[in-house]
């Protein structure tokens, strides 16, 4: 059971028996008055978004979800396919359900798939993934100012800003929560 002080972006709760994720959260409190917790919530099954305002003392059931460890296989016109490496069961998620996670998905990667009553609805990535640089513009000569960056493309097609010394073919550690470069990984 959560209460209103647990509410934050990313928290998954049950409303009318269905799982919702908080996509936007605002705490407000007038001086000497009760706090209000304004939330935008996305239904994790239908993807519909709703607005709700909660007060101190309100209680919430966590979303009733199961997390299953799976391997990413491939994508095709139907979506993204995953396999349970113990049972060999296969499931798929649509492009909408995968969302931003597609930027970091590489074949054979181990991920967690979230199920609501046996239906796969969402993916949970590892915090850090390692991906290869497949295209990189050469660094601009003479620009040695600290903090200078350039754009590169990773093997998933994802583009991001990295320090100038990064070269094509190198492996980078990426934070999947922010989509940002963390460090270069030695082979």
């Amino acid at each position: 059971m959560y209460d209103s002080s647990d509410l934050r972006k990313g928290l998954k709760i049950t409303i009318d028996g269905e799982p919702y994720i908080i996509t936007d959260f605002q705490f407000s409190k007038p001086g000497k008055g009760q706090a209000l917790y304004k939330c935008k919530l996305k239904n994790m099954v239908t993807n519909y978004t709703i607005d709700r305002t909660y007060r101190s003392g309100d209680k919430f059931e966590p979303a009733d979800l199961d997390e299953v460890h799976m391997q990413y296989l491939y994508k095709d016109s139907e979506g993204f396919h995953f396999m349970n490496s113990t049972t060999y069961d296969q499931v798929s998620l649509s492009k909408d359900q995968i969302g931003e996670a597609r930027n970091f998905l590489k074949e054979n990667m181990e991920v967690d798939i979230l199920f609501f009553h046996d239906t796969p609805i969402d993916i949970s990535l590892p915090i850090f993934v390692e991906l290869e640089v497949t295209r990189s513009a050469p660094g601009v000569r003479g620009d040695t100012a600290s903090g200078a960056t350039k754009s590169v493309t990773l093997e998933t097609g994802y583009k991001l800003q990295v320090p100038l010394f990064i070269k094509e073919g190198e492996i980078l550690k990426i934070d999947t929560r922010t989509g940002e470069y963390v460090e270069r990984v030695k082979r």
């Binding site: 007038p30 008055g33 209000l36």
Partner: protein, 311 residues
């Protein structure tokens, strides 16, 4: 400017603002005091939660102060006449774009004064610290909008504000859910953004430590200062009647019980000091929010060394 440079610049200006506040209050004859940050008995307010601090088995639990208010009034009762405290206070469960569970509060108190003096103090203080923060000619730009900070700031009573923006008139004891919700959704967003503004004369039930207005006891002599959509400061002509204060605390304690919140020990030391407390007024100003306003910061995390999640 990189986000790191912007953060460093804000921390430097924060230091200058605090230095300017101390100099300003000292010039006005205020003494800076430091009262304990841990207390046996926080004010029993229904909407503010104190962090408990364990002293170990067989010793009474303490609480981190949510404001130095009770301590400072005890000092006034002992003969001090102009004092201020500038330091951290702690409020459980308050976290948002304008809220930190640990934040920095300035509170100043004047003997023989009422809330009108506090409003003048605020006007002079804001002008002084805006200069220290690098702003010129009585003007500050916050989130792309210019704010004219020349004195006096406009004043609006709660009655006027609710009639104008919410379409109803709160009485002395309004439905608090409705009052608070309209305050957040209808009043605060519509307050003038090109001038700081004082909201004053709150319903009698919305200010448990404030004196009622002698000419209209349906309202309390409480004032709040807003600028750029940020609630900056709150102050009162202080209630100095120990019996009435005890009654109000009992009412607040009852609301706490009804909401299933823990009961705090009874603030006896404070209530007995009230017997000797002369007429006075005091204001509490959130330093982090003032720094937000004067460094054009979109949220409170941008003006502290480290947000609480990374402290």
């Amino acid at each position: 400017m990189s986000s790191k440079e912007a953060w460093q610049r804000r921390l430097v200006i924060r230091g200058k603002i605090i230095e300017a506040i101390r100099a300003f209050l000292s010039r006005q004859g205020f003494i800076e005091v430091q009262t304990p940050l841990m207390t046996h008995a926080p004010a029993p307010e229904s909407s503010i939660e104190a962090f408990p601090v364990s002293q170990g088995r067989d010793r009474p639990e303490l609480f981190l102060i949510t404001s130095p208010e009770l301590n400072l009034k005890r000092l006034l009762a002992e003969g001090f006449d102009r004092i201020f405290q500038l330091g951290p206070v702690f409020r459980k469960g308050e976290r948002g774009r304008h809220h930190l569970p640990e934040f920095t509060m300035l509170e100043w108190y004047r003997l023989g004064a009422d809330y009108y003096s506090l409003m003048s103090d605020c006007e002079a203080l804001i002008a002084t610290v805006a200069c220290a923060a690098g702003w010129k000619a009585h003007s500050v730009v916050y989130r792309g909008k210019e704010i004219d900070i020349s004195s006096p700031f406009p004043r609006l009573t709660i009655k006027e504000a609710f009639e104008k923006y919410a379409g109803w008139t709160p009485g002395p004891d309004p439905d608090l859910d409705r009052f608070n919700e309209d305050m957040i959704t209808k009043i605060e967003p519509n307050l003038s953004h090109d001038r700081p503004i004082f909201l004053m004369d709150y319903p009698a039930s919305c200010a448990s430590l404030s004196r009622l207005k002698p000419s209209d006891p349906t309202v309390a002599e409480r004032v709040e200062l807003y600028a750029g959509g940020i609630e900056l400061a709150n102050g009162f002509s202080e209630l100095t009647d120990p019996r009435e204060q005890g009654d109000r605390f009992r009412k607040e304690a009852q609301i706490r019980r009804a909401h299933g919140l823990n009961a705090y020990p009874w603030p006896e030391k404070f209530l007995s000091a009230l017997e000797r407390l002369p007429e006075c007024a005091g204001m509490a100003l959130g330093i982090d929010r003032l720094v937000m306003l004067l460094t054009d910061a979109p949220d409170i995390d941008k003006v502290v060394a480290f947000p609480p999640e990374e402290g």
